[in-house]
Amino acid sequence: MSWKMWALKKSPWVFHVNTGACNNCDIEVLELLTPRFDVERFGIRLVGTPRHADALVVTGGVTRQAAPRLKEVYRQTPKPCVVFAIGACACSMGIFKEGYHMAGPVDKVIREEDPNAIIMYIPGCPPKPEAMILGVVKALSLL
């Protein structure tokens, strides 16, 4: 495993993107980043711009309006980077599967931009912060 990936696993900085979520997953992600769950133990830090990010935390199924914007944010993130699809809607569109306004789940939209993207799924509606920590740690150990 290259030293870049090793370093990325030791210090993943996250940027949060909401592509049409109902905000439930966003609330749980924001709770995750509070001192109570202390993700700084893993080196995780919330950054304010995609240019500093290693991991994009994407919530919500991607709406038609948000799809080009999600691709733009992915382009702006320096590679190597990882995409975390948080919640049932991001993993598979969830209850909005038949919706007229959806462009697809997160992996379909990101793969249109970059077929080799690394995407990790943390299902739940919304996933508990403990589940998210477990998911992130497990996913990073698979890299």
Binding site: L8, R41, P78
Partner: protein, 315 residues
């Protein structure tokens, strides 16, 4: 100049006590900062190597230069800050460890300390992003605000050391042991807080407001250089404060313990102020430094002059 001298200079600037030594100390200091902040917030905090992992990871990412940015200035600005931080750290450690000093090195140190914030500002302006320009203009106003009381407090230290601008001479006396010296120490502590870019004066890199401010377009290696500069300032500025105000750091015998304690005192004060205060607006920051800190500094200078004129040593 012989090859040995050149070699010795290169060693001093690049390895010890220059670049590598300050880097290691700076990364350790920034770990101390994050760990103490975590403990204050009742949580565990990052492991010891975390700042090093951050820097290594940033070096492994690609560097993206935005289209509208001035490519040369964008990429060179971080290096200017790093060079200034390296040189100033070398001068300070040489003065403390080996008593190597020259007339006017205090002035040189002050000038060099202005360069890292200015390089951040230039990098922000060269980014071609309106949010970066906002952050950079705030940084500019902040520099104007805190340099004034900072220099006045240094004037107090100069006055109390019999008008000497030799670092070694100033380091020989504990300036903070007098009334004017104590006032000057406290005022310059807050100026150092602003120079380091810590809350309550981190308006230039306000993550939640302007998405990273001056650093918004930086990624990869240039961002790593900025982080390294911040780490090195975290070791250079408290050492400077300890040298000028707390009577220098003498590394001989029991003096080693005293030296480390002085450094830790300044660092812990800075961290505690950082953790217990919210961020202020730029107009509040400028008002704070010009309306409150500057008069206190002028008062301290007046007391120092009075003490010198009337022969009162504790004034």
């Amino acid at each position: 100049m012989s090859a040995a001298t050149v070699g010795w200079y290169a060693f001093a600037f690049l390895v010890f006590p220059g670049f590598l030594f300050s880097l290691a100390g700076g990364l350790l200091a920034s770990w101390v900062d994050r760990k103490v902040s975590a403990r204050v917030q009742w949580r565990v905090g990052p492991p010891l190597g975390q700042p090093l992992f951050d820097v290594v990871k940033l070096l492994g990412k690609e560097t993206i230069v935005p289209e509208g940015a001035n490519r040369l200035v964008f990429l060179v600005a971080p290096l200017v800050g790093l060079a200034a931080a390296t040189v100033v750290s070398t001068i300070l450690w040489m003065a403390n460890l080996f008593a190597v000093s020259f007339v006017g090195d205090l002035i040189v140190v002050v000038y060099l300390f202005i360069l890292p914030p200015v390089s951040v500002m230039i990098g922000g302006f060269a980014s071609g992003n309106p949010l970066a320009a906002t952050g950079a203009s705030r940084e500019m106003k902040l520099i104007l605000a805190y340099e004034l009381p900072f220099l006045i407090c240094l004037a107090v230290a100069i006055i109390r050391s019999d008008l000497s601008i030799h670092l070694v001479d100033i380091a020989a006396r504990p300036v903070a042991g007098s009334v004017s010296g104590l006032l000057a120490f406290l005022v310059s502590l807050l100026c150092v807080q602003a120079k380091l870019g810590f809350t309550p004066f981190d308006v230039a890199e306000a993550e939640t407001e302007i998405m990273g401010g001056v650093y918004i377009e930086y990624s990869g290696a240039p961002l790593a250089v900025f982080k390294l500069t911040q780490a090195m300032l975290l070791i250079a500025l408290p050492v400077f404060m300890a040298t000028v105000f707390l009577g220098g750091m003498h590394f001989s015998g029991w003096g080693i313990l005293w030296a480390i304690l002085k450094y830790l005192l300044v660092v812990v004060l800075v961290i505690l102020i950082k953790n217990t205060n919210p961020r202020v607006r730029i107009d509040q920051a400028v008002g704070f430094f010009w309306k409150y800190m500057t008069p206190v500094g002028v008062l301290a200078a007046a007391l120092a002059l009075a003490g010198r004129a009337f022969g009162i040593p504790w004034l």
